[in-house]
Symmetry: D2
Subunit: 445 residues, 4 copies
């Protein structure tokens, strides 16, 4: 144990003695923003990891979280930095464990090495979780941490420890899929309005329009500790054909069809809600659960398809058009695309007819040929669905003429198709060989 830790422990000892006498005033006296704040968070953290933590753990955990949540940004940063520096694995124990393993590499040595390499932060996070509401508060703590990551890359190790535990705690086996509809409590529904990331919900009337009609569904994953907000949710429309326009699909005067008449389930929006759970994979599991559940509910469904944005398209296209010589697009195409610079081109039938073919050619290039440095398809939404085993099924010119849709993809949307019996094969093609599985229509055959 290095000197710094020893010293902070000594301070902890003092604080701790007052604390166990019930003298919480010691904390309250400290002026918010006072530079000692960070030390306080660290002191409580040390106490929580100490032997006394066993007896009064829940109280200490509560206190640390309370203090953290009322701390300044400076104090939080100092605490995170302290976690990075002083709550890592102990170098001496680790060296000793390595040495023992190298001398006699049996199970026991491995186990010791495993324990020695685990950062002490992980046990700290586990103990913080003992307190009531701890899980949600830890998610918020990581959200706070992520705000510092760019400026302080040394905090990445702390972030990795949060993620490691969250992946274990939010194992799909612990999640419950629930349908949300117009009977769902208002405090849950307002989360949908808040978190919808793809096609913003305008107001409660728009929300109702997405939940109440008999041909609409919404499903989310819930964790028992966060009963009032979904971790992720997907919005679904039941239709008789693969849709090509989000504005048509969500039209306020849309006339519902009976669910039993639907052949197609359209996933038109999927949104994560907790920034603090970034990196924990939910989407793929949710889609598979929803497909399974819909098949049981509505046996007539035979097509499961998305209506998806193409968030990287406009930027990429801008690059190609700005390049001296595009390797992806022909000169004619680039010429035709000039119309995109006109205001309101998408409302002018002549202009849209003129640019349609060029746009779809560009889209094909974007999906089928353009690749990033690692040789993977550029579009993040495409990466998600193709990795899940879906097929790029259809390109939709002017599929989203909202300001956001025009800005990010000149209105382009696409459908990804989930064919259950091909999912595994497509997944492997993408993961192992980076192949883009696409329909004949998209391939232009």
């Amino acid at each position: 144990m290095n000197t710094k830790t020893a010293k902070s422990n000594s301070r902890t000892g003092d604080l701790f003695n007052r604390l166990i006498r019930g003298d919480w005033s010691v904390f309250k006296k400290l002026v918010p923003g006072d530079s000692d704040d960070a030390l306080d968070l660290s002191s409580i953290a040390q106490a929580l990891l100490s032997r006394r933590g066993e007896a009064s753990g829940m109280m200490l955990a509560q206190r640390l979280l309370d203090t953290f949540e009322t701390s300044t940004q400076e104090a939080r940063l100092a605490f995170f930095l302290d976690l990075a520096q002083n709550f890592a694995a102990d170098p001496e124990s680790l060296s000793a464990a390595i040495e023992q393993y190298q001398q006699s590499p049996g199970d026991e040595a491995l186990a010791r090495l495993g324990r020695a390499v685990e950062p002490r932060r992980q046990e700290l996070i586990r103990r913080l979780n003992h307190s009531s509401g701890g899980t949600h508060r830890l998610i918020k703590m990581r959200e706070s941490l992520q705000g510092f990551l760019r400026a302080h890359p040394e905090l990445a190790a702390v972030d990795a420890d949060f993620l490691h535990l969250f992946e274990s705690w939010f194992n799909p086996g612990f999640l419950e899929m629930r349908r949300m509809d117009w009977r769902t409590p208002a405090n849950v529904l307002e989360k949908l309005i808040e978190y919808e990331a793809v096609h913003a919900v305008q107001d409660w009337s728009d929300l109702r329009n997405r939940l109440e009609p008999v041909d609409r569904r919404c499903f989310g994953f819930f964790h028992p500790q966060l009963a009032e907000e979904p971790l992720i949710f997907v919005e679904v429309a039941l239709t008789t054909e693969v849709p090509s326009s989000i504005q048509t699909l969500l039209h306020p005067e849309h006339i519902p069809i009976p669910a039993a008449q639907a052949s197609t389930a359209v996933f038109y929006s999927i949104s994560n809600t907790q920034k603090g759970l970034a990196g924990v994979p939910f989407g793929s599991f949710l889609l598979k659960h929803v497909i399974e559940s819909l098949q049981r509910e509505i046996p007539t469904l035979n097509t499961f398809v998305t209506l998806s944005p193409v968030p990287g398209f406009a930027r990429w296209l801008g690059g190609e058009r700005a390049a001296e010589k595009s390797e992806m697009l022909s000169e004619e195409t680039i010429e035709a695309l000039k119309v995109l610079d006109d205001d309101h081109w998408y409302e002018d039938e002549d202009k849209t007819q003129g640019v349609r073919a060029a746009m779809l050619d560009s889209a094909r290039a974007y999906f089928l040929r353009a690749r990033n440095a690692k040789g993977i398809v550029l579009d993040p939404v495409a990466r998600f669905h193709l990795r899940n085993g879906a097929e790029l099924h259809q390109l939709n010119f002017l599929g989203d003429v909202s300001p956001n849709g025009l800005k990010q993809s000149h209105g382009l949307m696409v459908n990804y198709l989930y064919k259950l019996r091909d999912i595994e094969r497509h997944h492997e093609a993408f993961v192992e060989r980076r192949e883009i599985v696409a329909s004949k229509a998209v391939l232009g055959k």
Copy 2:
């Protein structure tokens, strides 16, 4: 990767190809008990950890658990041994990671080392948990594993991996304390009858007697994935004084007192239910939650006390009496104890009066002076409560005259007292200095 794994992987590949074509018959064809069974479990395990596992993970996990549960003991053992041998950390990756760490011991090297030292089994167990009902089935799998541990100590590493994950998954933050009473579903209540480990529940009428009166309580910890059985539960009686006899406390014709008249909450039985969760600590958390909850419900309560068995007493006393010369007990005491050899001594007033003092002296010796090789108090129940910060409060001669009570402790019971403001101090005294905190009455002062 050693040759064996490679070979089994190749076999896996073949099986797997048939499997993804939906040809599950390959498994069904195998005769139960056939020596290939184990290989099958291992094959599915390999597939589940492979790249394909991402796409068809839930199906594979389901299959592995189904197969395991219908396998013979031989097949299960073979599978566990395979987990020990072939699903540990990969030695080569580990050596490489160690080397890198020793050369440049930064965060990145530490992270890589952490990943390399983690047995592949852990990821396997996490993926098995994806399947529906997986958590409970994994607990049962570990229960099965524990049956092999004595004969196969090399499986200890596998057991440690289960325990590591279970400690994370069953973090107290994820448990819900629920009261059980006579309105609780029958299928939950029958678990109480099944699992009560301290004072057996005779029948439903006995159970009702422990749950329905207004001066009785029962609380358990539940995990969302095991909604129909408590992981641990504690039975409580509300009284006006510290009780000294379990037969009196549980008398079928006991007349209930209004809860608001009670001053004392007596924890007279605490039972774990899942063998497969052995080593995951619940008891201390449950007691603290229950105390907190009872304080809120019944503000008149001022004493929280157990009525506990002394399971190691009779054996220890037998040793002392058999010894040529006891260092713990005086000759007079040993002489007086001879009456314990008489049949039905406890029903004879003369005999009980004659042995009472000797018994209590022996009990003092047992608790206050006798120690095991590590210098710790012998009695396991005492260790649990003293570690939690309780005080050894009262010795109860003839506190339990059931056959079991007489056999394990010649009828002796004790009370441990939980004083909230002393818990931390007592806990430290015991953990750091191995002190037995006892009341003046017990100390004989």
Copy 3:
């Protein structure tokens, strides 16, 4: 208003003034059993019906029910008699209303007549129902009333008022059918043990045997105000054929069949639970709901049948055998029936074979030809099912060899068959023409 009422009102006034000053002691002072008790109940009743009842109704209702429940039998009887005498329709108002109606028989006169003829007790009962738990307490009050009916036929009018309101309150539209199984709260399940009226439940293990197997069902009607006990419940076995013996059906070692393999649902017990609801018809509605619900759950079911006792058979047969000359049974039959006087005849194969034909002939006579004074079939269970539109389907010799079964029907049981498309026709045949609809097998054709 007659003198008696006036006087009691005056007394009420006095009591009431003290009561509204919060002086409840006036009631408490009265010695239980004191002859004034009845007056007290009546006084509160008068207050509750008075103008003041509007403001303090719930308090008065509570008080009346509390007082009633702690009153002696004498006091209760006095109260009921007072209800009969002094809380009927007011004769003067009624005469006036009749007169008006006879002079000008319009809607208004009719309405006034309707109000005048309604006993004041009905409004009293309605107001008692305002208090918390009032519905259940009123049911218990009627149960108490029924104990006096035989000795005091003048209370029949009071009983009729309870029944009139209960029929309205327990309209099938307000009842909820719920399945009860092994997950049902224990306090509800113990009601099944308590109330099972046909084939007594021995203990919790017997109960579990009737609820938990996958081929057993139990359904009850619940009223929102009595959430913890069914008003009526029916026990169902799923089988592959029409059963002929209750002991076989309920055999403890019975091996369950998957529900999806069942063709037949057997209603083998139907029990009312609330004596205070006697006369309110639930059974027919419950059976129809259960049939509908089972058809939805298990589409393979094609036969809905009872296995029913024949409670009046042994008594009737005794009469025929004792008669000098039976008009129903032949001499041979009567001769053959003598074996029934032997102990344990039903365990002797020779004897059972000898009496079988005579017994079945007698049963045919009992069901098909014997009639009561009103010309209706004698057996009460038969009346219930035939009125519901069922068909007498099968006679089962030695269908119930329990002591009770032997005593009431020499072991005879029968099946009634519910064919949905014939129910209406059978119902009319029975109700309008007193026809017994029976299968060819029963008719002996």
Copy 4:
């Protein structure tokens, strides 16, 4: 039975035979709006009351309600008129029952008379209630009926029968009080927006403002058969003093106080939701339940008060001002009130100060002296609260400056105070002596 009924019965018989053969087409064939529609409704009604109704009642009830709900206004009216004419008490049976009663007026004759006077409609309505969802549909049916009452006063008897049954079915003993807050399902909350009758809810944000802050409450009565909408609800604000302005109370930037700091519960809005339940009294019971519940929840509350509109004030004041000579108001007052004719007078400090005294004097006259033909206070809201036993506590000048508030009462609001120990006395004062109980402040003493 008159000829018309006989004929319609004969027709019924024919229809009914086809109906029990499953030939529902007979109904469907009829063109909507066809004049036979009404006959159909009546035919089903006749069938439902016939003997067959016992067996196939639920099906017939369902059918009648389905048909009614898709009928034209003409068909509905014809049906209601038929109910009035042909489903009343049978005159012959009634005459016979009267005769019997007059000859021997015992219990039996009374009972027969009671049965004879009951319109057959009542049994019809009870049987309609057997069908699933029947209760709610009957409420809607009465709502439809009420639309015809003014033009067809002969339907009043039919309406009275609905009301008679609804009063029994919606007895307070069957209602459940529930708190509604921001966790309440959205489909229930939107009913609050729809039905709020006093101070309109602008949008979801306004609704949230009334439900979510810790110093706001909303309670409603629910009936088990209408689980998704309250029958009546009251909105409550917790404050530290009696409020005098609704705009201040509902200010969007209102800063909540902790409930434990509140001394006063303010009922600022109470709304019925079901027109079809008009005449069934809920309000008084709800207020008393809410007061009781709030007292338990927040023991510091000592004042229960309304903030109420004065809906009849402006109209009455207009009358006084228009009269040649007001008997209620002095000439000075009338002179001062002229400012009310100015636009936006309430925003001009001089004008408001000038009219204040005259307005309050007028209000005193309106409440304390003005009376309707029956000698009762004019204001309907005052009648409700005074009858409940409240006291007119405070007059609030410019308490509601919304357009509606200015229009109906020139901005005047009042508080009614509920003092539990005086409720009974005040109630009697009002009901028996028509006294207006008012505070000294209001009385001007």
